[in-house]
């Protein structure tokens, strides 16, 4: 690991002003960053530790929604009574990710910024990677790509977004609150992540020095929810395909539905086309099938991951079936 400065600010203002210099990074739970620093993928010159900032609260909002501080640990959020009761899809997604040890450290803000598990990104000796070294090329496109993305890819990057939490947050239409050198702003999660295009190293809309302070999740009253994750092992493995469903069903008809997919996209993947197919329709297997076809219509598999197209369809169908049962 390289040498770096370490700062320990006590307020959000201080944190933001200390992190605006080039080469500085915020550190929260460290479950991604410490790992990548040990691999020399990340080499920050300054670490700004945000663990002492007052951002670890979960609060109910007057509109029935929930405000989640950026420093709330994944395990605390998963087991929070309100989350278990009203946002089951989020609790299920969190508990399907990583291991108990990692969930105890990983934070809400950190998870929103989780980096890909693409082996070429994580290994500095493995050859070119446009995400790690912009402009050098993508080793995965003609390499080992079984776990790579089939949606949102470009000729420059096919790395899969690894998070489970962010998929549930996408289906719940969370709003991300940010504080930075130019002030405060909020961004809907669906506008937060960028497609790789020809700049795969830019993964989201955060500007230098900007810090995620909290997330607001709108109320999801009278909805049925489910998160389904399919993977190589039953536990402690990243998704090959996953689906988060938040649906309002009335008299056997789908009044409204939001579907997001994980394990298949270069970002948490909102399936608007599938939602359009289902809205107002009876909750039947034929409509679930049509929705799944719509969700994967734009899929572009590579040499080793064509299986993900069918797997993701079946994942969406089963998640819809369980959620609307």
């Amino acid at each position: 690991m390289n040498q770096f400065n370490y700062l320990h600010p006590a307020s959000t203002d201080q944190a933001v002003s200390s992190a605006s210099s080039d080469g500085s990074k915020f550190i929260a739970g460290g479950t991604t960053l410490v790992d990548l620093m040990k691999l020399y993928v990340e080499n920050p010159s300054t670490l700004v530790d945000v663990n002492d900032l007052p951002l670890a609260q979960v609060e109910s909002l007057p509109n029935g929604g929930l405000r989640v501080g950026a420093m709330v640990r994944n395990s605390d959020l998963a087991f929070h009574p309100t989350v278990k009761e009203k946002y089951a899809v989020l609790s299920e997604a969190l508990l399907s990710g990583a291991s108990p040890q990692l969930r105890n450290m990983a934070t809400t803000g950190g998870n929103l910024l989780q980096r890909t598990r693409c082996p070429y990104f994580r290994d500095v000796t493995a050859g070119p990677c446009n995400k790690r070294n912009p402009g050098t090329g993508c080793s995965a496109i003609d390499g080992f790509n079984r776990t790579m993305a089939i949606l949102g890819t470009s000729d420059h990057c096919i790395a899969t977004h690894p998070s489970d939490m962010d998929v549930a947050m996408t289906a719940l239409e969370a709003l991300i609150f940010i504080e930075g050198p130019k002030g405060k702003r909020s961004v809907p999660i669906n506008d937060f992540y960028k497609l790789p295009g020809d700049t795969p190293h830019i993964e989201n809309v955060l500007e230098p020095g900007e810090l995620i302070t909290h997330v607001e999740i709108p109320p999801a009253i009278s909805t049925k929810q489910h998160y389904l994750k399919l993977r190589d092992r039953a536990s402690y493995e990243f998704a090959l395909a996953s689906a988060a469903v938040v649906a309002r069903v009335e008299g056997g008809h789908i009044h409204s539905v939001r579907i997001a997919m994980g394990g298949v996209g270069t970002r948490p993947w909102r399936a608007h086309e599938a939602e359009a197919v289902l809205t107002g329709k009876p909750a039947t297997p034929a409509h679930f099938q049509a929705a799944a076809e719509a969700a994967l219509r734009g899929a572009k598999p590579h040499t080793e991951n064509a299986f993900k197209v069918e797997l993701a369809k079946r994942c969406v169908i089963r998640a819809l079936k369980v959620a609307t049962a």
């Binding site: 400065n5 479950t31 410490v34 450290m105």
Partner: protein, 162 residues
Amino acid sequence: MSDCRIQLTINGQQTSVEAPPMKRLLDVLREDLDLTGTKEGCGEGECGSCSVRMNGELVNSCMVPILQAHGAHIETVESLAIDAELHPLQKAFLECGGAQCGICTPGMLMAATHLIAHNPNPSLEQIREGLAGNLCRCTGFIKIFDSVITAAAMEGSRTHAR
């Protein structure tokens, strides 16, 4: 960056160490405090061999920069036995063949201790989930699950403490 002074409580004893801020809790335990019970497996948060409890939560000590442990209460595998009297979990691991090469064992014991502290009578499913962050390459896990079930039924599996 220069060393910093870190105060922490290890297995009930207050102590302080001087270490580089990003030195891993794992290395501080093993090298500075001679607590070599905690093992390094993968060093990247995958295998759980280095599991300890920090402020009552189970964490991978290879992923905790020592600065983040300032003021923390840490419990390692050395906290389990009281002098020569093994913890019920340790007895059960011996009895049921839950330990083979021994590298995963301290982490398994800490994860199992943590599990039983929260859930005195875990089901097999709950044991599988509770130990999901701990990999064993020898036993095939079944004997480890048997050990936890056996320990949970023993007197003092939750109360055994200094």
